[in-house]
Symmetry: C2
Subunit: 376 residues, 2 copies
């Protein structure tokens, strides 16, 4: 390795920020593109560009400056990625994978085609089609494109819910009677080596429909953990992509594992790995896209991760309450994302709580759960 | 906590860089002063100033921009620190502590005054005084000021060595017949809370007289580990300083522990804590100077840390060999410091090797010890 690798990141939010933080250890030259001039990555990359990662020309021009181009959000211009690939830029994940994943309809069809277990679904284009498929309810209706962090998802229990249905191309997914939601982060490097992080268990925010907390290791029988890892490995190999892929899955009450959806980038369900595992998801992504051997994913400590969301009713310059009290509990670590402004349910940071056992980590987490608040 | 804390760091080398890396989690606004326009901190702080941290006016002007001022090297202008303290800047470590520590003569007198066990010594001003103290040899002669990373230290076994003696104010330290060199990093926050990291064992480079490798936990009887931690705690409490203090000690063949020297800042003997301990030395320093509760110092994994020095015979733009091979070994992590140019024995990075046991970490470390090379 001589001279600096020029790594470009599409998106300058917290995932990009933690990727840059890990990237310091690899002497990279970093460039970031984000529409927000106050994006969390701004002050810590070599070159920051304000612009839209959805715009062909902007992404193409940005990508031409890079040796390797990666993403921290999948809603990017895939046509530009494809052209950059053709012109020799290493685009990880590749345009084809991004295109499939950013459309939840294509994503579901991909699982079906590759015999990857997933819930039953129907693709609908407009509201009228829902009326023709009332027998399919209860179901989740998900917008095919642009959904993120719980936006673009609605639960339709019966005909009476149709007024809140989306009138846009969407996926109608059969409601899964699940016992748990779990996630496995897998990585694949350009040489084809694949590794998986241990299974984590997710708990979602009842109102905002985004990850509220997770704990690792998951309280799931060993055999099902093996199965979840096997499925996640099959998914990343089916995509043939390079980088990390977070595979969110349902563990059903009758012991099946169904893939819910995936993200081809660092993911909220892997934040705890920074503190708790040998290799963090961020370093693993870097190793994968730099085509270095992947790191060991062993757990060093049990962990609970709590998302730190902006409090309801506060909008403006962020102020953090309760840090003193929370950090006084052993094993508690705060990761703030450098966002100047808070708004209700905005992801402002996360807290990792370590313990020698998951019970210890959970007890510590319970004691600080509502202590840190982000107000304005 | 509302609004950003403005943290200034005197020195922009690798220690500052890893401090900034940890500081991302705390939403700090960071300023760095270093004479080298290519310093490792340059691209990752909010404001970078090229200038001398030894110059009164430069340090004073820089410090006036900061809420909290800290150091990553102790050879800074202590008079400027003192004036800044008087004018309300939080200077951690304080001017008085820095002044004592940056003069190895004052440092030794401090230990004597506070009944902290240390090797016997004489202060000498010029070469002639050495002749009057030949009976004190064999001894190390250390320059009182400006020694760093093995520079400014010479071993005088007998009269015949006097030609290589320094002709400057120095400390003549009785040679200690030690079994091991160990280090304990202690931290003290502004509220007076003190914690210690577990004892680590150091191995020095035979030629360059700087840390070559360390392993943790140290292979030292429990009782002596307790004693080492107790002594390190007494040292930081005697200074009454805020921040972290690395206390290097000799474990003598007759079971005594003697303080060798201290550094009031992140230290080479704490690099492994980034990967191996609950809290890293960098986060601990930040918690201390932000007056947050100190973190748990528990070991998550056993670790060996290897310094990555520039190869002899190479001077110029750095190129790294052997990364692929080394990173293929489980538990191996590389931390490069972003230095553009290498020269013989320059600290270019470090490698942390984790294992479930120290034996496992040592075996892994042995297998990669000479694999990574920094050439030009």
């Amino acid at each position: 390795m001589k001279g600096e690798v020029k790594l470009g990141i599409l998106g300058g939010g917290q995932l990009g920020r933690m990727l840059l933080q890990a990237g310091l250890d690899f002497n990279l030259y970093t460039l970031v593109l984000d529409p927000d001039e106050h994006a969390p990555c701004k002050a810590i990359c070599h070159e920051f560009f304000v612009g839209s990662f959805r715009d062909f020309d902007t992404v193409y021009a940005f990508g031409k400056k890079c040796d390797i181009l990666t993403i921290e959000i999948e809603h990017v211009n895939a046509d530009a990625l494809e052209k950059l690939e053709q012109e020799g830029v290493k685009v990880y994940p590749d345009a084809q994978t991004v295109r499939t994943i950013q459309d939840k309809g294509l994503q579901k069809e991909f699982y079906r085609k590759h015999s990857i277990p997933t819930s039953d679904f129907i693709l609908v284009r407009e509201k009228e089609e829902l009326l023709e498929n009332l027998g399919f309810l209860p179901a989740f209706q998900k917008l095919r494109r642009e959904g993120y962090d719980g936006r673009g998802v609605t639960r339709l229990a019966s005909e009476g819910d149709l007024e809140k249905a989306f009138a846009a191309p969407s996926v109608l997914e059969k409601l899964v009677d699940f016992e748990k939601e779990i996630s496995v982060i897998v990585a694949r490097n350009a040489s084809g080596e694949v590794t998986a992080f241990p299974v984590v268990e997710l708990s979602f925010h009842p109102e905002h429909n985004l990850v509220d907390s997770l704990f690792a290791p998951a309280n799931v029988p060993y055999k099902l953990q093996r199965l979840a890892i096997e499925i996640a490995t099959r998914v990343i190999e089916a995509f043939g992509m390079v980088g990390i892929l977070a595979v969110e899955m349902f563990l059903t009450k009758d012991g099946q594992i169904l893939v819910n959806e995936v993200a081809p980038r660092p993911h909220n369900s892997g934040h705890h790995t920074i503190k708790a595992n040998y290799t963090s998801q961020y370093e693993q992504h870097l190793r994968a896209i730099l085509d270095l051997p992947l790191g060991a994913t062993d757990i060093q400590s049990a962990a609970v991760m709590l998302n730190l969301l902006g409090e309801s009713g506060y909008d403006g310059e962020a102020a953090y309450e309760g840090l003193q009290e929370a950090l006084a509990v052993p094993g508690v670590y705060i990761h703030l994302y450098g966002k100047k402004y808070t708004r209700p349910a905005r992801k402002m940071g996360h807290i990792t709580v370590l313990g020698q056992t998951i019970e210890e980590a959970q007890q510590r987490a319970a004691s600080i759960r509502n202590v840190i608040k982000v107000k304005a």
